[in-house]
């Protein structure tokens, strides 16, 4: 498929997404799409640091939470939403810089566990100092409409995907991939691995903070500790893995299936069964198909075309 055809396909799809709320009034469908878009944002943001750069940090929820919490309180205090979201995302980014330096000194397994523990610490702190759920004030409850939430999540999702797309085609993208593949070789070729990891981390966490901001706007009631729950990290991670690490379409397809599965399965089975399915897929991907769904599709397409000769 050549690029202009692809571009028009994407454009048409986006147009449909924009038009949906005009024709569809059912809240459950709007919620479903909104959630999918939030997950696309969240998973793509993790994709930058985990998929492209190969640093599988498990502390992603912390940045989602910081973005969500700050956005929520600042917005409810009267600051206009865009400014509130920007503040939230910036706060997440600043926190990333602070912990980035010590975190990236840890190697391999220790980095992964260390980031998870950092996020858990934040969660426990907020669970303790802000135990009660934060509910929208009654004047807002009355005027609550899903439609602006929908469009906000769409804008942020498009923004995020565009940024990831830009990275994947840029010098930064190549640098991140080289770090993922072989840090020592990358250093030997002139890549400042520390700096690049930090840059990827900052972009990743900023976008995660934005995702949190969208959620803060969307949620009628939010318990602060829940905003930092590890499940936000894990959902993003398994979406990226199963969809395809370091690809553009991977997290998008992964998110669509994830949220779809979640909605469908929750109708008939106790909550959480979508995690069961995705968990099994995750294990299969890790053991047998590291490229995820997208990688599998690529492989099938290549074998169909007869494969390039050596």
């Amino acid at each position: 498929m050549n690029s202009s055809k692809r571009l028009s396909l994407i454009g048409a799809f986006l147009l449909i997404l924009v038009a949906v709320p005009l024709f569809v009034k059912r809240n459950d469908i709007l919620t479903w799409i909104t959630f999918t878009l939030i997950y696309i944002t969240l998973s793509q943001s993790w994709n930058i640091i985990g998929g492209y750069c190969g640093q599988q940090n498990l502390g992603h929820a912390a940045f989602f939470g910081i973005g969500a919490l700050l956005t929520r309180y600042v917005w409810l205090a009267g600051v206009p939403l865009p400014a509130a979201m920007l503040l939230g995302a910036l706060a997440a980014c600043i926190f990333a810089i602070i912990i980035g330096f010590p975190a990236f000194r840890l190697k391999g397994v220790y980095f992964i566990i260390g980031t998870l523990v950092m996020a858990e610490i934040l969660k426990m702190i907020f669970d303790t100092i802000l135990p009660r759920a934060n509910v929208l004030p009654s004047r807002m409850l009355g005027a609550y409409s899903l439609v602006p939430r929908y469009y906000l999540s769409l804008i942020i999702a498009v923004l995020t995907v565009t940024i990831v797309l830009w990275i994947s085609r840029s010098k930064l993208g190549l640098g991140l991939l080289s770090i993922r593949e072989d840090e020592d070789a990358a250093e030997a070729l002139g890549v400042n691995t520390q700096k690049n990891k930090l840059v990827a981390f900052m972009i990743s966490t900023f976008l995660a903070g934005l995702a949190g901001g969208v959620y803060a706007y969307y949620a009628v009631a939010a318990q602060p500790g829940y905003l930092f729950a590890a499940v936000w990290t894990f959902d993003a991670v398994i979406i990226v893995f199963v969809g395809g690490m370091g690809t553009i379409m991977g997290p998008i397809i992964g998110s669509v299936f994830f949220v779809l599965l979640k909605q469908l399965l929750s109708l008939y089975l106790p909550g959480g069964m979508h995690v069961l399915v995705f968990g099994i897929l995750f294990i299969i991907v890790v053991l047998f198909f590291p490229g995820g769904l997208i990688g599998l599709i690529e492989k099938l397409r290549r074998t169909k075309e007869g494969g390039a000769a050596n």
Binding site: A186, A188, G190, N310
Partner: protein, 237 residues
């Protein structure tokens, strides 16, 4: 002197890998660095390229002290290295492998320019047309070429080649030797670590011999090879 190594020392735990090493290398030379296994050759490369920090001693590049600088900085300054066991970026294409070097080490101004220049380098080393292949689909010989090409992409003034001949057939060795001579003709100073003595004798104008981290001989290749100390070192190990 394009490269001066003064009293270089590096120990790991109780083992001294490089012991009080001095080397003076003029621009345009092809230096052979030989010695039995474990004599400190690769460690010396790692020290020069910044991958390891010396315990003692200094490294001067074009008169500038580069001791303790990080590997990426040293690469940008003009010293590139290959690895004994090739380290390709396996899930990236051959072209992308080179582009990393060109963009980050060689100071390319844009992705497009980098791609063009790297295609040329691929042709230069004999990988022409293979730019779109994933690095993990390249055979042994091509991987070695890729390793060299990547280092070349960083526009080095000094190139450290670590055992390029291992695992090659005599015909492949000759082809690689030709490439090395080509690279040298283009003005790059080379330091070559090798086990295949006949290859080293063919290209280098000067030889350094290491044993247990110490320099035991230095000078004209044919003379050094027949030096009794050198023969003993190889036989003894």
């Amino acid at each position: 002197m394009i490269l001066e190594v003064k009293s270089l020392k590096k120990a790991f735990g109780g083992i001294i890998a490089v012991n009080d090493l001095d080397m003076m290398i003029a621009e345009g030379e092809i230096i052979g660095l030989i010695g039995p296994n474990g004599s400190g050759k690769t460690t010396t490369f790692s020290l020069i390229s910044g991958y390891l920090t010396p315990d003692n001693g200094r490294i001067l590049y074009d008169g500038v002290d580069i001791t303790g600088l990080k590997p990426n900085r040293i690469c940008q300054l003009g010293i590139a290295r290959t690895f004994q066991l090739t380290k390709p970026f396996t899930n990236m294409t051959a072209l992308e492998n080179l582009m990393v070097g060109r963009l980050y080490g060689g100071g390319a101004s844009s992705m497009k320019k980098a791609a063009e220049e790297c295609e040329e380098i691929l042709d230069y080393v004999g990988l022409g047309g293979k730019g779109r292949l994933m690095a993990n689909r390249l055979g042994v010989v091509d991987r070695k070429r890729l390793e060299i090409a990547r280092a070349l992409a960083t526009k080095p003034k000094i190139l450290l080649l670590d055992e390029m001949m291992s695992g090659l057939t005599p015909a492949e060795m000759d082809a690689t030797l030709e490439l090395v001579k080509e690279i040298h003709r283009s003005g790059i100073t080379l330091i070559v670590v090798e086990h295949v003595i006949r290859a080293i004798l063919q290209v280098s104008n000067r030889l350094f011999v290491l044993n247990y981290g110490k320099k035991i001989a230095e000078g004209d290749p044919t003379e050094v090879i027949s030096d009794s100390k050198v023969v003993e070192a190889y036989l003894g190990n």
